[in-house]
């Protein structure tokens, strides 16, 4: 079937729903396409909170400076300024929509401290901030009557005369392919944690949005900047929120020392994420780890604080490794967490492909640069979600309805049909995905070097060849998850290649990119963004963009 709308939003996380809500408020006929029900989106996992300079004595300039410094000066300062300036009103808007934020004694919004911040400016709901925001926003979507195609999976974007005019969606419950035409598309399909093992991300974070836009001709920027979170639970990789350290948790090595004093004597555990992750990796590598982990200790906070402010991680530790944090420290290690890079957009969310917008984790404005500060990502989703929705609604006013697309629908049907018909020769999506993700962690993780990255690129080629052999182990139509997983793996392979290539290109250490062969930051040559544009016939095209600097000259980063 063919459906027509003004604006089609792919993704129903915070960025997608915020974008849709704004587009609807601005008079557009908007629909959301999401491969899972909106409230299952990964935004629900955000535990710690959301940043805004709302408090007395705080200023958006201070927030912006922390963000720029945290980014290791790779963030574009105009975009950062804008985000931090608009943050208070955007957070307050969610309060007005009903989010039950924590309050101080005067009944005003209360804060907690987060890594890399000079002030406590993180607003929160226990340790379920993302869930609270997401649910409130979902209810606003219901109230506004926005159409949601839920459990529909985008297989490709539809472009007409070089402009993006919709997407092809696979309806899980029937197994049917449909063409969703629109005058503008907002790509808000979230992160790509499944590219790494271990990762704090959900199984649905397969980077579909990066690959969809990349295949439609939009460049990907800062893809080498992959954030490792310093405290993920041993084994499963579940996130132990930074709020734990915000509340005063210690990181200990095997000798029981707070080792951060050797790496960040002032900020200690609350230094920025890349700094803490590297410190842990070094401690573990030098033999001061505990079975490949360090220890996160909250015992001194006391039972009440733990149960009141950190209930979620207390429960996770108890459920998944049987440790009661009130009584014992938990083993943690750095694990892949967030993608700073993404589809290059301007501050309105527009990509270089007309009609295609992007927002949220999948986008790169760039406000996070080389390293994202905790609690800045939720902020990014709602500020740029709103901005992209508004811009898309304005854009569609002067655009005619698309008429074509049935050829694409047919070719997608054939592509999927061929995939389903592929005979089984021993390769499965699960095996190839695991090998890919383990390989990425090994060579493109916390520390990197030329030889390792080159190996990664070679291995990726082998994995691509294996991918061509992967068969779909389910031949049915209704809820054929295997088919979806195979398609997702195809997306992951595309993104993996851009991450490796960008990491190879950047011959310096900055933010999350830590090259042992180029250990220093090199502003003279590398104060710039790397962009990759797909070229179907050969290697991706490389281009560079200067970093926008408005008021803060790059300085040495110490915490």
């Amino acid at each position: 079937m063919i459906f027509d709308h003004d604006v089609l939003v792919i993704g129903a996380g915070l960025a997608g729903m915020r974008s849709a809500l704004e587009a609807a408020r601005n008079g557009a006929d908007v629909a959301i396409l999401s491969k899972v029900h909106p409230v299952r989106s990964h935004s629900n996992a955000a535990q710690g909170g959301i940043n805004a300079a709302l408090g007395e004595g705080d200023s958006w300039e201070s927030h912006a400076f922390d963000t720029v410094k945290g980014s290791d000066y790779l963030a574009d300062q105009d975009a950062v300024e804008l985000m931090c300036e608009e943050a208070p009103a955007d957070v307050i808007e969610f309060e007005h929509m009903g989010v039950v934020f924590y309050r101080d004694d005067e009944g005003k919004l209360g804060t907690r401290a987060f890594g890399g911040a000079s002030q406590a400016r993180t607003y929160f709901v226990g340790d379920i901030t993302g869930q609270a925001l997401l649910m409130t926003l979902y209810d606003q979507i219901l109230k506004a009557g926005v159409k949601v195609y839920e459990e529909w999976f985008a297989t490709s974007l539809y472009t007409e005369d070089g402009a993006c005019r919709g997407a092809v969606g696979l309806e899980s419950i029937t197994g049917e392919l449909h063409l969703l035409r629109a005058k503008a598309v907002v790509d808000a399909a979230g992160g790509c944690g499944r590219l790494y093992e271990p990762s704090t991300n959900a199984l649905i974070c397969t980077g579909d949005g990066y690959a969809l836009a990349y295949r439609a001709g939009a460049p990907l920027m800062d893809m080498e900047m992959v954030q490792y979170h310093p405290t993920t639970l041993a084994g499963s990789g579940f996130l132990m929120t930074e709020a734990a350290r915000g509340e005063g948790a210690y990181l200990l090595n095997a000798n029981g020392d707070r080792f951060m004093k050797a790496y960040a004597p002032n900020k200690m555990e609350l230094a920025s994420r890349d700094v803490v992750s590297r410190a842990e990796a070094t401690e573990i590598a030098q033999g001061r780890g505990v079975d490949g982990n360090v220890l996160l200790d909250v015992r001194h906070l006391g039972r009440d604080v733990i149960l009141k402010k950190l209930p979620q991680i207390h429960e996770v530790a108890l459920d998944y490794i049987g440790i009661d944090m009130i009584k014992e420290p938990v083993p943690v290690r750095p694990g892949m967490h967030y993608m700073m890079g993404g589809v290059k957009t301007d501050v309105q969310g527009a990509t270089s492909v007309p009609g295609l917008y992007a927002a949220g984790e999948v986008a790169c404005v760039s406000v996070h640069g080389g390293n994202r500060l905790g609690a800045n990502s939720l902020l990014d989703t709602i500020v740029f979600g709103r901005r992209s929705g508004k811009a898309a609604a304005a854009y569609v006013r002067s655009i005619e309805r698309a008429r074509g697309g049935s050829a694409l629908l047919r070719s997608e049907q054939e592509r999927l049909g061929a995939l389903l018909a592929r005979p089984y020769k021993g390769e499965t999506h699960a095996k190839v995905r695991l090998d890919l993700a383990t390989m990425m962690d090994k060579y493109v993780g916390v520390y990197r070097d030329e030889a390792g990255l080159q190996t990664a690129l070679d291995e990726l080629k082998t994995l691509r060849r294996r991918y061509e052999e992967v068969a779909v182990g389910d031949k049915g139509r209704v809820f054929n998850q295997a088919l979806q997983f195979v398609l997702e793996l195809g997306y992951l392979l595309d993104i993996g290649e851009t991450v490796i290539r960008s990491a190879l290109l950047r011959k310096e250490s900055r933010g999350a990119q830590s090259r042992t062969d180029y250990p220093e930051r090199n502003d003279a040559e590398w104060l710039k963004h790397i962009l990759l544009t797909r070229d179907s016939s050969r290697e991706p095209r490389v281009s560079y963009l200067p970093v926008t600097i408005t008021r803060w000259k790059p300085e040495v980063r110490t915490y």
Binding site: H42, A45, I92, H96, F101, K143, D319, V478, Q481
Partner: protein, 337 residues
């Protein structure tokens, strides 16, 4: 460690290839479930593994045709609710060891819900109910300025966090005994949500809300079976929220309904005689002049008579009933008379 999993399978497009285990007909406890059969798998996993680990292991390495919803693996996205050994649980929060009974763990779609395929079931009943309670804030006017929050005490927010912890998994609804016999019942999760908005000091429509939740299918249709409290993986305890709503509704004057009359009749009978007069309870609840309503209870009365369950015609007071009256006086409030 070896674990054996028995999965209730269903495929609307036809049957699955026969498995090693002998197919077994699916017992249908509630009449909504279509025919399914069980398939047995064995997995080798660490001892602390959860049911979802087993299902993912099967789906990835043994049988790609097994359909199961999951995303977060850590009890936060609400995707993986299903029946495990005949009760509602999250697969990602249920330890295999704890759920192994007679050497195996049995998982299936809940029979109270429409099944789509295997462990994937239809959430429409759940979301319809959610939508029916006006699940959004109707902001109290004037809304503060763009840089200003509503000033409310943290305790008022804290009071709502219990419901805000709801992950919309559906465990409560799928095992709710009132829902099992009455599709019209709004259900535990939606009524918990209803409380969350009615009790939000920033909401302008408390009264309208309480009125609408007091009607048919609302707060008085819950039978206190406690399933929702027991099965909720997030401590939302929907029944507790329903009881708070009832109190709010009665305090706001919404007493002209079967539920409140039932509670009143209950209290009156105990206060006056020390025990429950079941014979007058029903007419008092439906309303003495509600002839149609009373006639509707007749079939149940006849059934009860047949089964020898009809209460005695003559209702006796217990000795020392005065002391019971004193208790009512002490408690005070609406039932003291």
């Amino acid at each position: 460690m070896q674990f054996t999993i028995e999965v209730g399978r269903y495929n609307p497009e036809g049957t699955y290839a026969p498995s090693a285990s002998a197919p077994q007909e699916f017992p249908v406890p509630w009449d909504k479930a279509p025919p399914r059969r069980y398939q047995t798998y064995t997995v080798d996993l660490p001892e602390h593994a959860v049911v979802l680990d087993a299902l993912i292991e099967i789906r990835e390495y043994q049988d790609e045709s097994l359909a199961v919803r999951c995303a977060c693996r850590s009890a936060i996205c609400g995707s993986c609710a299903m029946w495990i050994n005949g009760h509602a649980h999250l697969a990602c929060k249920s330890k295999l060891q704890a759920f192994t009974k007679d050497g195996k763990t049995r998982v299936e779609s809940p029979p109270s819900m429409p099944v789509i395929r295997d462990l994937v079931w239809g959430m429409e009943p759940f979301w319809k109910k959610h939508h029916a309670v006006t699940p959004w804030l109707e902001p109290k006017q004037p809304v503060p300025g763009p840089r200003e929050e509503y000033r409310v005490a943290n305790a008022a927010m804290d009071n709502l966090v219990q419901e805000v912890s709801c992950i919309n998994c559906g465990c409560c609804l799928m095992d709710c005994e009132s829902f099992a016999i009455n599709d019209n019942f709004l259900g535990p999760h939606a009524l918990a949500k209803a409380y969350r908005y009615a009790a939000d000091p920033r909401d302008a429509t408390e009264k309208q809300r309480l009125g609408s939740y007091s009607g048919n299918g609302g707060i008085w249709d819950c039978t206190h079976c406690y399933e929702c409290v027991q099965q909720c993986p997030k401590g939302v305890a929907p029944l507790e929220q329903i009881l708070k709503l009832r109190k709010m509704a009665v305090d706001a004057g919404f007493t002209n309904n079967a539920g409140t009359r039932h509670a009143d009749a209950f209290a009156e009978s105990v206060r006056e005689s020390g025990r429950l007069n079941e014979l007058t309870l029903m007419p008092k609840s439906t309303g003495f002049f509600n002839i149609v309503g009373q006639l509707q209870t007749l079939p149940s009365a006849i059934n009860m008579l047949r089964a020898g369950k009809l209460p005695p015609i003559v209702h006796h007071k217990i000795p020392g009933v005065q002391r019971i009256k004193t208790i009512f006086q002490r408690i005070g409030g609406r039932f003291k008379k």
